[in-house]
Every structure is written in C-alpha cells, then in structure tokens.
Amino acid sequence: MFIKKILIIIQPVLAICMGLFIGLMIAYGLGENPWSVLKILVNGAFGSTHDLASTLFYTTPLIFTGLSVTIAFQCGLFNIGAEGQLLSGAFAATTVGILFANLGSPLAPFIAICASFIGGALWGFFAGYLKAKRGSHEVINTIMLNFIAVGITSWLTLYVFPNRGTQNPETQEIAAQFRVPSLFLTEHATVNFSFFLALLVAVLTWFFLWKTVLGYKLRATGQNITAARLSGISVNQMQILAMVLAGGVAGLVGVAEILGQAGKFRIGFSPEYGFMGIAVSLLGRNKPLGVVLSALLFGALHKGTMNLDLETENITRDLSLVFEALIILSVTAEGLWSYILERRK
C-alpha cells in the first residue's frame, strides 16, 4: 500500500525522465550531443526573464486545454477536440472584439472572455450532444470537428474579417478596450492576465469536480456509467455538460492568444495546444493541480525546443512532439509499472 502511494508520486517523475532520456537518445542518433541538447532546452526555457516569460506564455494555453481534457476524462469521455474548441473560442473573442469596437464599457474584456468560453462550449456541445443523444463515439467526432473548425475559422479570417493591410492570413485587430492587461516582468518580457485566469480556472475546476453535487454526479458518470444511471443520475445530461465545460475551458485559450497577445486571429496560431493538452492532463493524472504542474513542464519543453532550430545543425523544434509522445507512452504503460512494482516487492 505504502509502495503504491509512493509510486503514484514518483511514477510521473520517472516517466518524464524516461521520456526525456529516450528523446535525447534519438537526438544523439540524429547526430547531436545529447548533453548540449539538454543544456539548450533548459537555457531556452528558463535561461533569462524573457525566456521564463515565454515559457509561462506557452504554459497558459496548456493549462486550459489540459483542464479541458481533464473535465471530459472525469466524465469518462476523451476530448481529442480541444484544438477545434480553442479555435472556435478564440474566433468568438475576435468577432466580439471587431464587431463591438464602439463599446466603451469597462466590462469589455469580461464580455470577450465570456465569448471565448461560449465559442468553445458550443464546439464541445456538438460532440457531447452527438455522444449522448446519437451514441456516436466522441473520439472520431471531436477529431472531425477539429478539421471543421480549422476550415470555418480560416474562411471567416480570409473572407469575412480579413486584414487588408497585410499579406498575412489574419483578421483585423480587435478594439483596444477588449484587451486584457499584460504584466511586465522586464522591459520586453510579458506575461498576460490570462496566466492568472488559468490558475483561477484550475481552482474552480477542482472545486466544481470535487466539492459540488453536480461535479460528483459528473465524476460518478465517468467512474461507472451503469451505476450512475441506476442511481438516478441523468448520464446523458452529464456527458453533454462535461463536453460543454471542456469546450468552454479550451475556448479560454482565446483569452491568452487573442485578448492577451496578438489582438487578432492568426491562422495556425496554435501549435496543436489541443493535442498537447491530452499529454498535460494524462501526466497530471487528470487532477487540476497535476495539470498546472505538467502544463509548466510542457510549456518549458515547447519553449526550450524552439531554440533547437537555431542552435543545432540537425534537429528542429519537432523534437518536442517526440518528447511529449514518449512521456505519454511512459505514463500510460500500466503493465510496465506494475511489473516494476512486483519486482520491488
């Protein structure tokens, strides 16, 4: 029992070490010195205040998508669709920021934040509704919805709100009063308000899932759907609710990107935050605190590997995907861990 408890804590740490080790060996195989690759990674992620700010900047969306996957997972659903939901949420925020440019209210950022949530929630709702009412599997549906979101947001960007002043595939700028404040660490390095929003949402998610009746019903549905149904919980409603909340939280990535950073919707702004969210949630053992910590790790990995493009000859930032994949595989290999556990006994 005691060994099991320790294993729960050290298993993710071991998995991270294993993933990093194998990833570095792959870098070695491709002709790089693994030690210097590791140094580039650490320096790139934490080397200066500017790097640290960038790391936190990448951490923020990952907290949102990680929580999104977590909420769905607690209800027994796989949300592979955070990518589409965050695009939908980000575009909703952009739309509000452009259409209501004359709105002078001090509540403007708040309205745009709500728009992000609603945009994402709508996209999550489709998947939840189809799962609960039509019985079609959420994994394939959310993946299809990702592609649909890419298509629709690209079309809206290029044809409905195009930025005429540039060749870049992006929308017009949103009105200034919708932006959320930046916090300057040094002169150039900023972290925006959305980072704190992400931490707040993590606390709220924990409170909702573990301290409210509705959250309990949602988790009961995830634990044992038959038992939940027999005890009178409307599992269909819970599944829809879980996907709506998951989508809404993923949509809040729009706050980080649109309201906090770019001020406009740029096609392809997300480096697959949605898929990284799956890794974040899994490594964080589907708990909000774990999600925040593992989002920080993946944010650091993402920022650190960016420097590989410039500072090494043979490898590129694509290595971060390899690291993530290896870490997920190491975490999820249950049989491997119980084998190690048996040996220790």
Binding site: I26, L30, G31, F78, I80, L130, R134, S136, H137, V139, I140, N141, I143, M144, L145, F147, I148, G151, I152, S154, W155, L158, Y159, F275, I278, A279, L282, N314, I315, T316, D318, L319, S320, L321, V322, F323, E324, A325, L326, I328, L329, T332, A333, E334, G335, L336
Partner: protein
C-alpha cells in the same frame, strides 16, 4: 451544360472517387484487423504518415516504387508493433497511446526528413518512373477479396474474432490472446503503411507535411459505418472517397452569386459527412465486445 459535358464530368468524378478511396481502403482494412481483435487503432493516422514518408524516401533513393512500398509497409508495421506492445503487453490505454503514437510520427518524420533531405516539410519530388501508375488499384482489389475470405475461413480469422469478442474463451482454448492481437496490430500497420504509400507515390509525387489530413481517422469512421465488416467497410470508404472527390471537383465552381464557393468551406465537406454518417445512419452497430479492453490472464 450539354449531355456530353455532364457525361465527362461524371466519368471524371467516378475515376477520381476510385483513386481517392484507395488510401482509405488500405487503412480501413488495417483498422479492421486491429479492431476485430479488440485493439482500437487511433494510431492509423500516424502509421499512414510513416508509410507515406518512408515509401517516398525509399522510392527516391532506390528509384523503385516496389522497394518503396515494401519498405514503407515494413517500417509502418514496426511502429505498429511498438504500439501493440504498449497497449497489449503494458495495458496502456489504447486511445491515449494511439494519440501518443500519432504525435511520435508527426514529430519524428520532420526530424528524419531534415537529416535526409535538409528540409522538414517534404521529400523531393519523384519522377514518373519511380511512382506507381496502377499497382495499388490491383493490390487493393486482390486484398479485399483475399481478406474477405481469409477472415471467414481461416483459423486466424476465427482467433482474431474471439480475441475481440471473448478473449477468455480463446485463452482457455490454449491460444495466446496477446499474440493474436499483436499479429493483428502488425497487419494493420502493414496495411496502413500501404495506405500511406498510395498517398505519396501513387496519388502524388512526394511526401508532404501532414499529407494524411485525417484519413486515418476517417478510415476508422468508415469501419464504424461498415459495422466492423469488410465489405460494408469497403462501401463506406468508397462513399467517403466520393465526397472527397466531389469536394475537389467543386472547387472553383460557382454555385450561387458571382464568387466561387470558398475552398475552405468545400474542404470541410468530407468531415461534415463523416459526422452526419456516424450520428445518423449507423443505427445499432455493435462493436466487438472486448474492443478497447486490455486482456489479463487472471
């Protein structure tokens, strides 16, 4: 439009439906083996991409599409074995491990492309002699017929069915569930690799970044639509292929007003149809009972 124009138009559409369906057909048959034996295979997408890249790279260096196809299928099957070991022996969650394998493929391929060709996005174009003109079409037809009968009549087909429906019964009969599942996943890797091959050295002339564009997932959807049976799955693939062909034909056509329908909206057509098909017409498709459940002996 005159009658002749409509005729050529339909002929073109028919022709391109057949061509475009081929990668889907390979991948869906691959998914068929894996899922019937009880292993969900979200990794099809990544396996196809590996097959597409490896085939194009090998065909480029050896100037032989045959070696390219063989190499691509084998390399994809190694990835499938890796996936299989994780989900079958280590009891990793099949959807999570599948997503991870896709990420691994999406990350590893650009790194290797960088070393081989000094660009991350694509492989160099293949000349017409280094590509297939008709072989994948013949191969897929032979495979469909073969798999249909083989799965019905062979003892392996029966084992795979039991591994997916009632693994304990298979285990009691003294057959290793692990090995049957691993072999099925390996087969699905070969077939998905061939699907990728047909994308890069049959339908186009090089590997390009993310060229599978969700076809692995669509193959899975076709499998659900085909109720996990080979022949209905083939028709589901042809339907998706038709929608994709229609999508390409529709690009640039003026349906209403003065402007052509934007390409971004037409491109989502196959994905919309997939969702509609899955949510509307599947009815009570019953997946294999043990699908997604890891097998433990005790």
């Amino acid at each position: 439009m005159t009658i002749e124009e409509i005729e050529t138009y339909c002929l073109q559409l028919f022709n391109s439906t057949l061509r475009i369906s081929i990668p889907l057909l390979f991948a869906a048959l691959g998914g068929f083996f894996s899922e019937r034996s009880g292993v969900i295979n979200i990794a099809l997408e990544g396996l196809m991409l590996v097959g597409a890249f490896a085939s194009a790279a090998i065909a480029y260096f050896t100037h032989s599409p045959w070696l390219g196809a063989l190499g691509g299928a084998l390399i994809a099957s190694f990835f499938a074995l890796f996936y299989g070991v994780f989900v079958i022996y280590f009891r990793a969650n099949q959807i999570v491990a599948g997503v991870a394998l896709n990420m691994l493929a999406f990350g590893l391929i650009p790194l290797i492309a960088k070393v081989l060709f000094d660009v991350t996005g694509s492989s160099p174009g293949l000349s017409i002699e280094d590509r297939f003109q008709i072989m994948p079409v013949v191969l897929i037809i032979l495979l469909i017929v073969f798999i249909h009968f083989w799965f019905q009549k062979s003892s392996f087909g029966l084992w795979a069915k039991f591994a997916g429906e009632h693994p304990m019964a298979l285990h009691s009969a003294g057959i290793s569930v692990f090995r049957v599942r691993l072999f099925s996943v390996w087969l699905s890797g070969i077939l998905a690799g061939l699907g990728g091959m047909s994308l890069s050295i049959f339908l186009s002339s090089a590997y390009s970044r993310n060229m599978t564009a969700g076809r692995g997932f669509m193959a899975l959807a076709a499998l659900v639509f085909g109720k996990w049976k080979p022949l209905p799955t083939v028709f589901a693939c042809l339907l998706f292929g038709f929608v994709d062909a229609l999508q390409i034909q529709l690009q640039g056509i003026v349906l209403w007003g003065a402007e052509p329908v934007p390409v971004q909206l037409i491109q989502i057509l196959p994905y919309v149809i997939t969702i509609l098909v899955l949510s509307g017409f599947v009815g009570n498709a019953r997946p294999p009972s043990a699908l997604g459940l890891p097998f433990t002996k005790s």
